[in-house]
Each structure stands twice: as C-alpha cells, then as structure tokens.
C-alpha cells in the first residue's frame, strides 16, 4: 500500500511540468495559434532559470528570468505567425531547434565558466505542485466565466467573425501567448527544481507529451491535466519496475524507457478523432 501511494506520488511529481506546459499549449491553441514549440520554450525557461539563479544566487530571480525567457520565445512565435504569417508548424519547430542549440551554447563553458553540476538555488517544488493543480482550475473558470475567456474561445474558433464583433484577434492572441510563455517558463523552472541543475535537452520530449495530452484532453483544461498525469503514470511505472522481473518476465530496458512515448502515441491514434479541434487553429 505504501508502495502504491509512493508510486502515485511519483506520477504526480513527474506530471507537474507536463501539466504546466500543456496549459501553456492550451492558451495558445485556444486562441488559434498552433504551438508545437512548447518543448523549446520549456528548455529556454529551464536554462535561463538555472543561469540567473546561479549568477544571482536567488531562486526566485531565477524563476522570473526563466519565465521571461519563455515569454520572449513565445512572443517570437507570435510575431512570426501573426505578423509575418509564417506557417505555425515551421515557426514552432524553429523555436524548438533554436532552444536545443541555443541553450546548449548558453550553458557551454565557452559562454559561462560556471561548471555543470554546480548547485543552484531552486524554488521549492511544492510551489509548482500547487500551481499544476490550481492553474487548470483557474483556466477553466476563466474560459467559462470571463470576458477574456469567451473572447479567447471566439478568436480561436473564427478570427474573422471575432473581428466583426469588434474584437482584435491579434491582441487576444498575443495575450494568450504571454500566458503560454508564463506556463512554459514555470514548467522549465520546475524541471530545474527537480534536478537541481541544468543539462542539455533535459526536457526530453515532455513538451510534446504535453501537446499530446492537450489533444486527448480536447483542449479543455481539466481533462488535459488528467491526461498529463495519466501519461506520467507510465513513466512512474518505468522508474518503479525497470530492471525487475514482472511475473517472471524480464522486459528489456528500452521497452520501459519508450513506454510513456508509446502510450502517448497509442492514445493519440485511438482518441484523436473524437475531439474537436479549435476551428480557427492555424488560421490567419
């Protein structure tokens, strides 16, 4: 029993950054901006959090820096897609590549003499635990009960009709992208809090799992949160059972490692058609 509780706890901890990133994806995609760059924004967030926290020796300043970096990356996506009308997938992917290369460069000895693995002051993880549960609830209320919420839904559904109703779709989208930056920055900072250091590519595809959870959750905050935790149950399984025989069968390590990704893929294949995509996703 104690093992089981521990196991659930592990899944929760693993799920927190994914939930935060998925909420970032939610605000963006609900406004009609396709966002496959969650991974990159998380990575920027993590890297800058670690850098600022190390140089200032202040965890909270690190968090602010990480969020700021993720907001900038998110706004870059906004400028490229909304002002320069670049394809949303290409822009998102560019930001991921920029993040993979950029963070690696920023954190290399050429750029900074702080050694890898030096201890970094971090924001207590409990803060993120609380946010991962609170933010989906707040978004849910926001979408249902506020002016900004219905405008966000409207713009994501049909920007042209929204404009006709006196709404400025570009403004709504940029606000949504700022929120995306904040949530992705939090997700990145959480990963740093977890490990106490930054390492290259440390987000390891969780931005994409967040995206999958968003799709499976039908772009709704609470189901998306549940989907994130459900995916991470499998990661927890991996950590718990890797290298152990189950009913006398020894599963190869590689299978365990690929488990969360495999489950994501299967879930997407099985469920994607049942959910309705925001109709204006990717539209000008």
């Amino acid at each position: 029993m104690a093992d089981f509780v521990q196991f659930l706890g592990l899944a929760f901890v693993l799920g927190v950054p994914v939930v935060l990133a998925a909420m970032g994806g939610l605000t963006s995609e609900r406004s009609g901006v396709m966002n496959i760059g969650l991974e990159g924004k998380m990575l920027f967030g993590a890297c800058v959090t670690a850098m600022v926290a190390t140089s200032t020796q202040n965890a909270w300043l690190g968090l602010v820096g990480g969020i700021g970096a993720a907001i900038l990356a998110s706004l870059l996506h906004g400028v490229l897609t909304q002002v320069y009308r670049m394809d949303h997938v290409i822009s998102g992917m560019s930001i991921n590549i920029l993040a993979w290369g950029g963070t690696s460069y920023l954190y290399s000895p050429h750029f900074t003499d702080r050694a890898f693995g030096s201890t970094i002051p971090v924001v207590p993880r409990e803060v993120f635990y609380l946010l991962a549960v609170a933010i989906p609830a707040v978004i849910w209320v926001y979408l249902k009960r506020t002016r900004g919420g219905i405008r966000l839904m409207a713009v994501g559904n049909d920007p042209e009709k929204s404009r006709q109703m006196g709404i400025d779709p570009i403004r709504v989208r940029f606000m949504a992208l700022v929120a995306t930056g904040v949530f992705c920055g939090l997700a990145g900072a959480m990963i740093v809090s977890n490990t106490g250091r930054f390492s290259e590519g440390m987000t390891s595809g969780r931005g994409f799992i967040a995206l999958a959870a968003l799709i499976i959750g039908g772009w709704r905050p609470v189901p998306t949160m549940i989907a994130c935790f459900a995916f991470m149950l499998f990661q927890a399984l991996q950590i718990q059972f890797q290298g152990q025989a189950i009913f006398g069968v020894m599963l190869p390590n590689e299978l365990w490692l690929s488990m969360p990704y495999l489950v994501t893929l299967l879930a997407l294949a099985g469920l994607i058609s049942k959910n309705s995509v925001p109709a204006g996703l990717g539209k000008a």
């Binding site: 002016r147 929204s162 006709q164 006196g166 709404i167």
Partner: protein, 498 residues
C-alpha cells in the same frame, strides 16, 4: 436615431478594381431601406465601409448630424451600428448566451444570471425563445438569424445592416424575420437590407437604393416604383421573366428505387427515394434546406453510405462505384459548399480547372497533365460565364464569390457531362448570371444530358426547370401530374402539408 444617415461621395478601390465610385446613400431614421444591385455592384463594400471594416479612399459619413470616420468595426459598434453578415458571425463553440454577449460583455467578469435575464427580456420582446446555455452549433439557420437580431439589440444598435438576410431562410422564416424588422423600425431602429430579392423590397421596404458597377444608379421610395422599373435599374435593361418551354425527357438516365442513405450524424437522411431522371430534361429539386438533398447528391457522386435500395446510372448499378469511377462515367457536380468541395482557394484558376478531372480528356496525357490543353480549357471556362478575373493565373481566392461560382459552374459543364448535379448553382449570382447559368444547363440537357438542380428558391426552379421534384424530411415526392407546376401544391409538399 433621429437624423438620417448620410454617406456622401464614397469611393473605394481594390488594386485595379474601382469597387465604389462616388456613391451617395441617405437612409431615413426608423425605416427599412433596401440596397439592391447585381453581384459586384458594390453593395457589400459600401456596407463594410459603413460598418468600419473598410476605410473609404474618399467620401464622408454622417451619423446623427456629425461626421464620423471608423478605423475598425469596434468604432462603428460604439456608434450603435450593427451588422449581420450573410454567413452570420455566430461562434459554434460558444453557447447562445456567450455569443449574444461576445464583443459587448457587460464587464470583465460574466454574470450569467443577470445576462440571462436581460437576454430573455430581449427575446421576449421579439417573441423568440432560446435555451441560453445550449451550444450555438445546435442552432438551425433560422434560429441563428434570430440570435443575430438579438445580438444587435444586446448592443443597442440603432442602425442595423443585414446582408442578404433571407438567403438561407425558408419563406415562412423570411416573413417572420421581416415582421421582426418592422417591429424594430417601429421602435425607432433604422434598418438597411442588402438583397437580391425584389419581392422583399416591394413588400417590406420604404426606400430603395440601386447600385450598379460601383455607382449609385437611383434611389427612390418603393411606393413610387414597380419591380419592372427596379429590375431595369439593376441590370440596365428590362428583364422579362419568361417560363421556359417545357421539354419531356426521353430514356432514363438515373433510376433510384427505394434508396436509403445515411447522413453525417448516422441518421437515415434519405428514406426510400424512388424516382428517375431522363435524358434531355432539367429537373428541379425543391425543398427546405436539410431535407436530404445534400445526402442524395453525395450518394449519386459516390460519397455517402447507402443503406438500401438501388441506384442505376445508364442501366448500370453505381451503388458500390467509387467517386472516381462515377466521375469517369460523366457525372459532374456543382457543389453546395464550393470552398470545401469545389475549389482549392490557394490554387490558380488554371490549376482548379482540372481539379478532379485530371485523369480525363482533354487534361490527361498519359500519366501527366497536358498543360497546354489545360490553359485552353481554363480560358474557355473563364469566358463561358464571363468570370471576372485578372487572368487564368489568378488565385481562386482573389475572385469574388459570384465569380468563383461562375467558374465552378463552367467547369461542371465542360466536356459533355452526362449528368450534372447542381446544388444552388446560382448562389451568390446576380440576375444576369442566374439566367446564363440556367440557359447553359438547359443547353446541356438539350445536347443529351440530364440535369438535377437543388434550389431553395422555388420560383427560380419553376421558371427554369422542366419538372419539379420535392424533398421533404428525407422523402422524395413528385407532385401529381395536373399540379406539376402548381406553386401552392409544391409549396405544400415542401413543408409536409400535403
């Protein structure tokens, strides 16, 4: 609103096209004013200027005695101007109440209870009923139109612009709409109706302004004019509505027996249709929108799931034929939604000309497309109904709706099709375009094809078709022989009253 709305000398140019040229419009407060004209006459452009969606190159706008200049629709909305566009601006993912408030929410925090109260009061005033928490995606076309009217009231619009408000409505719903508009005008609202339908102008409006080619032709009180004078003003010459010489079809082309078709939501959309189309005839398929016309067309083109019955084309069953085979057999479609089913908007006219037909003569050359033949064919398609475009390399997107429709109709009629299925082939077309398209459909039938036309305008079918069939609630009905062209008998079949 106590003073007239005055637009003076409005000009607007799009690239090389002069859409509006020094247009004046004066609308008296508290009246229904009709704005009529052919496609491309500039009606929508003028209304977009009034609603702040477009900024005029020249000209002034005077509302309540003051000159105004709108940079966005929201400026116009603030000046108590509201517009219902032809395709509505309802967001299906929001509830009815959210749609009602959208863009004019009372505060940052929505208070559903007080909003519902105000919404219900407005609805009661108009005699409408809504389930406010229902998703707007469930609304019928007529209900969506009503919600649009309530949106105007919610925003306290004093000037209401309605663009083709009855295009998608049944006659009964149209009458109800005008009853609402009269009531609003009686309460002091000023209404501008953009329309193609002269009977509506004659029956419901006080004044009418006619645009032609981006200029104002005339403006007069409706009481001092008649449909003949009006149609002369619209198209520049008298147009006499004549009924065609009815032709009797020859051998059967398409035969269906007890055909049952599944609809998009799994329902039985067509319930045992039996009937035939014969060589040489143009058959009109009348009926209220959503009676199964769409599914019937889908089934004949090989896209729908057929639950039972038989469907023979030229003596051969096409129940299991693929859309490609059916296309190769000579069935052509003028689709209901040309954006979804007819054209690729980001392609040029030339690329669109062979869309779906690329395996057939004259486009195919082995496994390649014969580029030269395609160029020639495109030019023929453009010329056939005088599609207005820069050249055949123009993007489909750059054409107005009416011109896209001309091109799509020309494509369906190219290369001797055997059966032409036309779903509202004249949607968005003006009087002259409509006449031309029907003339071409009739010529095609004369040349040995069959034509099946769906239209929600019964008069249009009565004027142009040899025979009328009716779809009502998934059933295919044929009026009795002695009442085959009786407007009332057919109308009764359409609404299930016969």
């Amino acid at each position: 609103m106590n003073q007239p709305i005055r637009m003076v000398g409005i000009s607007k140019r799009f690239g090389s096209v002069q859409a509006l040229q020094g247009v004046d419009l004066k609308v008296e407060p508290g009246t229904l004013h009709a704005l009529v004209g052919e496609n491309g006459a500039g009606k929508s452009t003028l209304m977009k200027v009034l609603y702040g969606q477009l900024q005029p190159d020249e000209g002034t706008l005077e509302i309540e005695g003051t000159l105004r200049r709108f940079a966005h629709s929201r400026d116009a909305i603030a000046a108590q101007i509201g517009m219902v566009s032809q395709h509505y601006s309802i967001i299906p993912e929001l509830t009815c109440l959210e749609n009602l408030m959208l863009g004019a929410e009372p505060g940052a925090w929505l208070e559903p209870r007080s909003a519902t109260e105000r919404a219900s009061t407005l609805a009661d005033r108009m005699g409408f009923r809504f389930d406010w928490n229902e998703p707007a995606s469930k609304l019928s076309t007529a209900a969506a139109q009503k919600l649009e009217i309530l949106k105007l009231l919610w925003r306290e619009s004093r000037l209401m612009i309605l663009d083709e408000p009855t295009a998608m409505l049944s006659p009964a719903d149209s009458d109800a709409l005008y009853a609402s508009l009269h009531r609003l005008a009686a309460e002091g609202a000023t209404v501008i109706v953009v329309t193609h339908r002269l009977p509506e102008v004659m029956d419901h409006c006080r004044d009418v302004t006619v645009l032609r080619g981006g200029k104002r032709v005339s403006s007069f009180p409706v009481a001092e004019t008649d449909p003949r004078q009006l149609s002369e003003a619209i198209i520049g010459r008298s147009m006499i509505e004549t009924q065609v010489e009815v032709r009797v079809g020859r051998e059967p082309m398409l035969v269906m027996r007890d055909l049952r078709i599944q609809g998009d939501r799994g329902q039985e959309a067509v319930k045992g249709a039996t009937g035939e189309l014969r060589v040489g005839e143009v058959v009109g398929l009348a009926g209220v929108d959503g009676s199964g016309q769409h599914e019937l067309f889908q089934a004949i083109t090989g896209h729908a799931k057929i639950l039972g019955g038989t469907l023979d084309f030229l003596g051969q069953s096409i129940l299991v034929a693929s859309p490609r085979q059916i296309l190769e057999m000579g069935v052509r479609l003028i689709p209901e939604d040309r954006h979804a089913e007819g054209v690729v908007e980001d392609w040029t006219l030339e690329e669109n000309s062979s869309l779906g037909l690329h395996r057939l003569a004259p486009f195919a050359q082995g496994s390649r497309v014969n580029i030269r033949a395609r160029s020639e064919e495109t030019q023929k398609m453009i010329d056939r109904f005088q599609t207005k475009c820069r050249d055949r390399y123009s993007l489909m997107r750059s054409l107005s709706g009416g011109n896209q429709q001309r091109f799509v109709a020309a494509r369906a009629l190219a290369h001797q099709p055997k059966l032409v299925l036309a779903f509202q082939p004249t949607r968005g077309l003006d009087i002259e375009g409509t006449r031309q398209v029907y003339a071409a459909l009739r010529d095609q039938a004369q040349a040995g094809s069959s034509v099946l036309v769906v239209s929600f305008d019964l008069d249009e079918l009565l004027i142009h078709c040899d025979r009328i069939l009716v779809m009502e609630h998934g059933r295919l009905l044929e009026p009795p022989a002695d009442l085959a062209r009786d407007r009332q008998a057919i109308g009764a079949l359409m609404v299930g009253a016969a």
